[in-house]
């Protein structure tokens, strides 16, 4: 089929662009003459690059899947407070366990506990939210925004009543950001990403059908509620991974998912997901190059993403055709 070839070509173009960005990220301003400097740069940059790949993939694919689950292209998990929920759960663990606890000192263990909590609580909350509002997108968006600030407030309450020493430790070790990436959990994250994909492979294959809406999906023999719940679990875990590594990135999924939908103009989720992940990689890596080389680390990349994403969100809201 001609169409399929064309989509394949688009994926190839994006991949080449991502590869080019990755190579320039690794090599710009590297001192090749001095092997020690060279190795030092590589040691700093390699984990950062891998982290960006992981985060883009997690956020990009989660955004597409989530949009299909709610049947709307202007919401993303982060807009509904999923990353805020993660940060809150994170803080709660430190708050209740104390900084001396093994749960906090060992980052991998802490990650495991967070993931577990997030999977259980996140899936429960959002599944309940969808059912309660009967997938009415305006309610979902409204309640999601409220929940987002609720989780944020709860988190800041906890940090305020916390022992100052604990708070210090929390800031230093647990709240990740682009300048303070949590690279220790790279392997755990990769294993988890792959594990979730394998666990959900059947449901992922059903996404094209789920996108037809609940009635049509059931008509075509999909066990709708079960698939939705399983995919939602996958989305919460992916967001948890991304937030654990680089902190909240509210609008990133929105941008990449919509770019991918506009670029591929297809209903096939295999392309949409790949495209969204690749756009994310381009954005993050390109952004980091700019931050490092042009702005000399003065402005973190999340600021750019939030500003651009916020404007893009308004644009989408205002131009969206009434469904």
């Amino acid at each position: 089929m001609i169409l399929q070839k064309e989509q394949g070509r688009k994926i190839a173009v994006l991949s080449i662009l991502v590869a080019a960005a990755a190579i320039s990220y690794m090599l710009i301003n590297v001192d090749f003459g001095n092997t020690r400097f060279f190795h030092y740069s590589m040691r700093i940059r390699t984990p950062k690059l891998i982290t960006m790949f992981i985060v883009s993939f997690a956020i990009g694919s989660a955004a597409i899947v989530f949009q299909t689950l709610v049947n709307n292209t202007i919401v993303t998990p982060c807009l509904l407070g999923m990353d805020a929920l993660y940060t809150m759960l994170h803080t709660a663990v430190v708050f209740f366990a104390g900084t001396g606890s093994i749960l906090v000192l060992n980052r991998r263990l802490a990650f495991g506990v967070d993931i577990l909590l997030m999977g259980l609580i996140g899936t429960f909350i959002y599944d309940f939210l969808f059912r309660k509002t009967k997938h009415n997108i305006l309610y979902v968006l409204l309640i999601g925004t409220v929940m987002s600030s609720l989780f944020g407030s709860l988190q800041s309450v906890m940090t305020r009543v916390m022992d100052p020493n604990d708070y210090d430790a929390l800031l230093a070790t647990l709240v990740a950001s682009f300048s303070n990436m949590n690279s220790q959990i790279i392997w755990a994250a990769v294993v988890l990403l792959a594990g979730v994909m394998i666990f959900l492979r059947r449901d992922i294959a059903l996404l094209d059908i789920i996108a037809l809406g609940k009635d049509q999906a059931i008509n075509l023999g999909v066990d709708y509620n079960r698939s939705i719940r399983r995919l939602l679990l996958g989305v919460t875990l992916y967001i948890a991974i991304a937030t654990a590594m680089v902190g909240p990135l509210a609008f990133m999924g929105l941008i990449t998912a919509n770019l991918s939908r506009k670029f591929f103009k297809t209903y096939k989720h295999s392309y949409l997901i790949m495209g969204s992940a690749l756009f994310g990689m381009m954005m993050l890596i390109g952004g980091e190059i700019m931050v490092q080389q042009i702005f000399a680390y003065n402005i973190p990349i999340s600021v750019f993403i939030t500003v651009a994403g916020g404007l893009y969100f308004l644009y989408l809201l205002l131009t969206q055709k009434k469904a």
């Binding site: 949009q67 049947n71 709307n72 292209t73 294959a205 094209d208 059908i209 996108a211 037809l212 809406g213 609940k214 009635d215 049509q216 059931i218 008509n219 075509l220 023999g221 999909v222 066990d223 939908r261 103009k265 297809t266 209903y267 469904a323």
Partner: protein, 250 residues
């Protein structure tokens, strides 16, 4: 298909109250009644879109809840009004989804042939590669029916197929439904608002009032002045056109 004591409650509010009826094979059955009478809910329960609170829906000797989802979707198709698609989809791609219960996402030549035939049957060849969201309401409805045909089920359930269509497209839709039954031998169940469409195009009518079946029978049995008054609480005149009882109300 036999339905026994079918009941649905929302909180304490009984929407469908132990409905008993049978769906005659190879015929068209229309469910009619005033708003809120429970006809769409009954349709939803028969098609497993809505969970029921009590009752048995016996389909080929087995309750529908005991059927495997995939198997049931090869026997029974439902088309509702909630078809908001957020993605770019061509007519052909939509119709191709009808083959999903058989072949998943990997369509074989037989599937392609069936898709071709369905598109032709609904006279959609020219717009095969048009996007669904660019079509008019009537064309879109035809595309969905083509998908149902591709799904190749014995039973077809249509929830208000004439809704949002103008008179021309609505009457064409009803002729199409008649063809589904007469030419393709399908058993069709409809929820209809317009009683004259029900009277002219269906074989049997089942009238709901307040969640209960008020009348059920052939078109001639149900379409009488007295019955219609009981159902709608409005005075009707009955006229006979082409041997079918049509009603006039104002």
């Amino acid at each position: 298909m036999k339905i026994r004591n079918l009941t649905k409650k929302y909180d304490e509010n009984v929407v469908v109250d132990s409905a008993n009826f049978e769906i005659p094979q190879g015929k068209i059955l229309s469910l009619i009644g005033p708003n809120g009478a429970g006809k769409s809910t009954v349709m939803g329960m028969i098609s497993r879109l809505i969970a029921r609170d009590a009752g048995i829906i016996d389909f080929d000797g087995k309750d529908i809840s005991r059927w495997k989802d995939r198997e049931l979707s090869k026997r029974l198709a439902i088309l509702t009004q909630q078809n908001s698609i957020q993605m770019r989809l061509t007519v052909r791609e939509l119709v191709a989804f009808g083959r999903f219960p058989y072949s998943g996402s990997h369509l074989n030549e037989e599937d392609q042939a069936i898709i071709d035939r369905s598109i032709k049957y609904m006279e959609l060849e020219e717009m095969e590669h048009c996007f669904i969201d660019e079509l008019s309401g009537g064309q879109r409805q035809r595309a969905y029916i083509a998908m149902v045909i591709a799904q190749d089920t014995d039973y077809v359930l249509l929830d208000e197929p004439t809704n949002n269509l103008d008179i021309y497209h609505a009457s064409n839709m009803m002729k199409m439904v008649r063809k589904l039954c007469d030419e393709l031998g399908k058993t069709v169940v409809l929820v209809l608002h317009e009683i004259n469409y029900a009277a002219f195009y269906s074989d049997y009518i089942c009238a709901f009032v307040g969640g209960k079946i008020e009348k059920i029978g052939t078109v001639n049995e149900v379409m009488t002045k007295e019955n219609l008054y009981e159902i709608y609480n409005v005075d009707f005149e009955i006229m006979e056109i082409e041997g079918k009882p049509l009603s006039i109300y104002y």
